[in-house]
């Protein structure tokens, strides 16, 4: 007898496609928040499936810190051209030049938190009423509380203690002027699910995820890539290591891991034996126990 049930990856895919279609149906001007990382690439891939044979009906919004891996930008531009979608860029450098935000000082300075202002400005300027993100509930304890449709007030803030209950598959995307929503279609995916799916669908991802030789320094318990944006201490020694990245963020805060995994099969295999969470190598989350929750309340991704 034929089995009429889905395996877990198909069920996650179906759920994500459902959410993406609800976004399109319920909002006027939704965009996909695109960082060039695997999660936003996955969301974009799912959007392609959700609307085929139509083109993806969302623009991509990239909040550009200026501290990018060059590979990420090349990948982004290539994907935008292939899909024929519009790219919107919110520039943190511009926010700094306009005096909207102040650059952090010191050795561990990053532009991570500065993105909040740029993101909210871009949402307002482009009249975006829903920003679709690749956030997952398994990533971090504050993210574990997220809804598929997550309300933001007219200051762009998240109120985790007063969220709308989300029952069955019924998503409530109603808002007042000035407010907006964040939508998280891959809420229920884990890092392992993402890799298994990327492998299964053979989705293209930036070369940074595969093991490669790179100049790095050992800082905050991970290998930080050497770049023009990184201020080195005299005591810090530059090594050449074979590494890969598990997550991609700012080049100044994204730590790599030593690895030989240079194919999707090897990466999936490696991830399944990992004993550390993927954000464990992100210094933006190490600042305090509630670093993510605090940033999210203000309007972070």
């Amino acid at each position: 007898m034929k089995k009429y049930y889905l395996n877990y990856l198909d069920e996650l895919e179906s759920e994500a496609i459902y959410v993406l279609r609800e976004v399109w149906a319920q909002f006027e001007n939704p965009v996909i928040l695109f960082s060039g990382g695997k999660d936003s690439i996955l969301v974009t891939h799912l959007a392609k499936k959700a609307f085929y044979p139509s083109k993806i009906p969302f623009s991509l919004l990239h909040v550009d810190t200026g501290h990018n891996f060059p590979e990420t930008i090349a990948f982004r531009d290539d994907l935008v051209e292939k899909l024929g979608v519009k790219l919107l860029v919110g520039s943190v450098q511009e926010s700094i030049d306009e005096g909207r935000v102040q650059e952090e000082k010191g050795k561990n300075a990053t532009r991570n938190a500065l993105q909040i202002t740029t993101l909210l400005d871009a949402i307002e300027a482009n009249k975006i009423d829903c920003a679709i993100g690749g956030g997952r509930r398994d990533e971090e304890k504050a993210r574990a509380k997220e809804r598929f449709f997550s309300h933001r007030d007219d200051f762009g803030q998240w109120d985790p203690k007063n969220q709308r209950p989300e029952l069955w598959n019924l998503l409530n995307g109603k808002y007042f002027e000035g407010e907006h929503f964040r939508a998280f279609p891959i809420s229920n995916w884990t890092e392992m699910d993402v890799w298994n799916y990327i492998k299964r669908e053979n989705i293209q991802i930036p070369s940074l995820y595969f093991a490669h030789q790179r100049e790095v320094v050992w800082r905050n318990n991970s290998w930080i890539p050497v770049s023009d944006f990184l201020k080195l201490d005299e005591s810090e020694e530059v090594f050449s290591k074979k590494i890969r990245f598990r997550t991609l963020g700012d080049i100044t805060i994204t730590g790599g891991i030593e690895s030989d995994a240079d194919t999707l099969e090897k990466i999936a295999e490696e991830v399944s034996t990992m004993r550390k969470t993927e954000r464990g190598d992100r210094s933006d989350d190490k600042r305090s126990e509630t670093a993510m929750e605090d940033r999210k309340k203000q309007g972070y991704f």
Partner: protein, 418 residues
């Protein structure tokens, strides 16, 4: 880990901090090796800061700042783990009385509910409340864990007494599949690993039960229902005449060539093609997200439903629902709300309250028309236009509704159509 053919099981856990719910979840995650080193390091550090000996498993489920400070769960949190047999999603819901709304939320998508009973206390009001909600939300499988068996000397007698207590009161509820497991979340007995302290118990561990529950039949595969989410009209030359109906199959199975009716118009046609992304398939079933095309050009838009010609839901403008009130603002008598049902949205009015249910005693209270936060009541609803409804018992997806207050845009109630 290769689990490509494995199913996804969603379950909800109910119980208060005192029942050891957080410890149980921590134990499941820890013993199934789903805890990462940096999480363990962080929890170990916090445990010793708080003066605990060893690792306090309950800390693995800590969430927001306020929750950590107050030691309670405020909102539903979702946890994930995978074994070689299945992928699991836990909806971890708070057990306090004021948080019925969270329990209902967590239960709405669950295949199974895990209910915790403290072996020292037996069945208490909270147990009845949780069981009632599991039954009300029609969760297909119920797993009752009698916890803290280590504190009653792993006594078979205590376990049997509690099982009997539970069966007695739950006979008033509609439950299809109930299991009982004696466990100690703290010591790890019968959670992931079989207990060496309870030879008298012949059944499986909690994980073993969760891995083997038969869930393929949880979704209705008989009554085909396809709510249209959006219409795909590509602008490209190649697909100039393409008109696809995008949606997620709510229940049943659709095949190419099936004779279908489009509701509410009633026009009939045949399925011409079924697609998932670029791939054309011969048949599709719930809960797949697909795009359908039909042989005939019919005017179809969001909110319409494509069903089999010979099996149709009941179009209805007035119906009874079991309503859970979820908002701090009480229901306004005869006020109008937005009603969401599948992909359809209309306006609705609560005409009258038939009776309220006391979720501790299961007794009906008539003559009280007010609906406050956490109240559960049978009400009569009238909508501006007909909805294509099924009863919730038959169909969770086409038998459920939410009400939205237009003044605040908040979701104020969840309802199950009777």
């Amino acid at each position: 880990m290769e689990i490509s053919n494995n199913q996804l099981l969603r379950f909800t856990t109910a119980g208060s901090v005192d029942d050891g719910k957080s410890t149980l979840i921590g134990r499941l995650l820890y013993d199934s090796k789903s805890i990462f080193e940096d999480q363990l390091a962080s929890v170990t550090a916090t445990s010793s800061k708080k003066g605990h000996e060893g690792v306090d498993l309950a800390l693995f489920t800590d969430g927001l700042k306020d929750e950590r400070e107050q030691g309670i769960t405020i909102d539903v949190a979702y946890r994930y783990f995978t074994t070689p047999k299945r992928k699991f999603i836990i909806a971890d819901t708070p057990g306090h009385i004021q948080y019925t709304r969270n329990m209902v939320t967590g239960a709405s998508t669950a295949n199974a509910a895990v209910i915790l009973i403290d072996a020292r206390n037996g069945v208490i009001e909270q147990t009845k409340r949780h069981s009632f909600i599991a039954s009300l939300l029609n969760i297909p499988h119920l797993v009752v864990c009698v916890n803290k068996m280590d504190l009653v000397e792993y006594s078979e007698g205590v376990f049997n007494k509690i099982t009997a207590q539970f069966e007695e009161f739950s006979s008033k509820l509609l439950m299809k599949d109930v299991r009982f497991i004696p466990i100690s979340a703290l010591e790890g007995d019968n959670v992931v690993n079989k207990s060496k302290n309870m030879d008298w118990y012949a059944g499986g561990t909690l994980l073993n039960v969760l891995e083997t529950l038969h869930i393929s039949s949880d979704i209705n595969k008989i009554d085909a229902r396809f709510p249209v989410q959006t219409v795909l009209r590509p602008q490209s030359e190649e697909f100039r005449d393409y008109r696809g109906y995008a949606g997620r199959i709510a229940s049943g199975i659709y095949r190419k060539g099936d004779e279908v009716a489009v509701l509410p118009s009633g026009f009939t046609s045949k399925i011409k093609s079924i697609n998932t992304g670029e791939v054309e398939i011969e048949e599709a079933f719930a809960p797949m997200s697909v795009a359908l095309t039909l042989e005939d050009d019919i005017d179809i838009s969001r909110g319409d439903m494509i069903v089999k010609k010979n099996n149709q839901p009941e179009p209805s403008q007035e119906f009874d629902v079991m309503l859970c009130w979820l908002n701090n603002d009480a229901a306004k008598p005869r006020a109008k709300y937005v009603i969401q049902h599948t992909s359809n949205e209309e306006r609705a009015m609560i005409k009258s309250v038939v009776y309220k249910v006391d979720i501790n005693s299961y007794e009906r209270e008539e003559g009280d028309d007010s609906l406050q936060m956490n109240d559960i009541a049978r009400v009569k609803i009238r909508t501006t236009r007909r909805l294509m409804i099924d009863s919730y018992r038959d169909n969770r997806n086409t038998g459920s509704i939410i009400l939205i207050d237009e003044g605040t845009n908040e979701t104020v109630a969840a309802g199950m159509i009777i």
